[in-house]
Symmetry: C2
Subunit: 333 residues, 2 copies
């Protein structure tokens, strides 16, 4: 009798566990990608095994643009910068005849593109520096609440991937600390990552400029300077991880070649590890782009993932929904 | 009857609560300093009041040298660097005739001091850069386990302040996230802060050099470069806090003028806030130094604390023990 009831308990626990994973990732089809995630998480959380990883070492890092939310037609922070130029234009009459601002204000995006990296950096400097960190955060908070995506006409924060929100929650429920490691601006992201992803500001690493402590009206303020502190992309991602987190993640999630070094850095450690690329192959519900994309190329990373057996998620086949069922229909893409 | 039993319950809860704080800070005498800490913590954790602070915003920042552990005769990381020069000397025969190395190797600390900041920076560069982050961590881990303080002859990690360990634990038990924000090297501290203070690497902010991603033997490594990334002292502390944590702490703990800007930055926010300086006034059990100390001056910060009513801890009168009763006796200071 004891043997039978023990078996019953074990079976019950086993089913309960499977059900837990099943409940946690409802927007994922039951394909190899989903199974690989669950196998990894069950492995590192299985106490008393060689693969067990203590909770403090369960660090998972996520790229943001294209991995947690959409990034087309251009990363949303660029659209924020463009909107800011328009808002600030009345205070800068000289912009009408200065490039890239004149082109941007007259809606000539090709003209902006022709000014190249220098032009984009000038727009970033004009819209992201000179103010205090508190002022910048207030501006982003206001913009993200009101702005709408040019194609879907929906708030940007509704263009986060439902399956990835579930993955973040599933990892956290299993003792992981979830971090963003993104090429995007750290203060741009921190204004909304806690409410949208459940990721607090201190777990957001991003590109950043230098800061300077000043006294204004008798109070200390931090002013955003037009000098680069960290470019958190490609080789910069492992640097950002080491300088901010100080230990190697055991799981990394990205979607383009800019994330390759982060995935390599994660996989080069000892013990069980997990690397995943999101592949944008769903032109109907989102966007389709990879090897030949000029802004967010997914080419070398894809080859490496295939060669090394890393997980490559097909948004089309692995995900039941992208933005949630009603938003998928509404997006009309 | 109902009234009486309700009163009994209230009294019981009140005593239980006081007992809790009492149990949490046993090495603190029942003076104004200890009471100020408890009043603050009880205030921000009292649900339903205007002063209540939600758990994610309960950020407390601590200086390390002189605040959590001793810093005399010089910050312990300097002694680590000196020991490293001695260990590395056989590989550098040229050091015998090059300053500051020659002076250091012959025990002529005055000669080292005469080379000034330039000399110290050369020693730091020679002992803290060129290797990978993993190699450096292994070196520190080995050193901290074996090295002994020149005066007390005890391991450096036993020269942490028992009352501050209790304070860290008390804050964490009340939902605070505890951070180190120190002028010391971030990777030097991260090697041991988790085991000694219960503070994980990702909650340690410190001075740091730039890192470079390289491939060695087919594996990605991060190499420590001799270029400054962040000097996490004075004006650099609010910069380190904003760039790494991204929100303003509500409590800050330091011991010298190098911590002043961190305390000012913390106190300049809205809502209830707490700032505390540890004053080294106990030559018998530890060290006594303040306004005229050349390395760790406590002068302007002290004046500001008095003027603004911040808490100044007297190590002599507020603390029952410094390093724990047996170590206090053994230290013979």
């Amino acid at each position: 009798m004891l043997g039978r009831s023990l078996l019953a308990v074990i079976l019950m626990l086993w089913f309960a566990r499977s059900a837990l994973a099943g409940d946690a990732l409802p927007s994922w089809n039951d394909t190899a990608s989903r199974r690989a995630i669950v196998v990894f998480v069950e492995k590192v959380t299985a106490t008393g095994t060689a693969d067990f990883v203590p909770v403090p070492e369960r660090i998972a890092v996520f790229d943001n643009d294209g991995t947690l939310w959409a990034e087309k037609p251009v990363p949303f922070q660029v659209l924020f910068a463009f909107d800011r130029v328009k808002s600030l234009a009345p205070q800068h009459p000289e912009w009408k005849t200065t490039q890239p601002f004149g082109a941007l204000l007259s809606g000539d995006l090709k003209g902006v593109a022709e000014t190249g990296e220098k032009g984009i950096l000038e727009i970033i400097a004009a819209t992201h520096t000179g103010m205090t960190t508190d002022e910048f955060t207030a501006t982003v908070t206001d913009w993200i609440a009101k702005a709408r995506h040019p194609q879907t006409k929906r708030p940007y924060t509704s263009m986060v991937y439902q399956p990835m929100l579930e993955l973040l929650a599933y990892l956290r429920a299993n003792g992981f600390k979830t971090w963003i490691v993104s090429g995007g601006g750290v203060e741009f992201m921190r204004s909304w990552t806690e409410s949208v992803y459940g990721i607090p500001p201190e777990q957001v690493i991003g590109s950043s400029g230098k800061l300077k402590l000043e006294t204004r009206d008798g109070n200390p303020v931090l002013v955003k300077l037009p000098e680069v502190d960290l470019i958190d992309d490609k080789e910069g991602k492992p640097v950002g991880i080491q300088s901010r987190i100080g230990r190697r993640p055991i799981a990394a999630f990205g979607n383009s070649d800019g994330d390759m070094q982060m995935l390599e850095w994660t996989m080069a450690g000892d013990g069980p590890r997990f690397a995943l690329f999101v592949h944008h192959d769903d032109a109907e519900r989102e966007y389709a782009y990879d090897r030949t994309d000029k802004l967010q190329q997914f080419d070398k990373g894809w080859d490496e993932a295939v060669a090394k057996g890393w997980t490559v998620v097909s948004m089309r086949y692995d995900w039941k929904t992208i933005f949630g069922p009603s938003a998928d229909k509404q997006s009309g893409r």
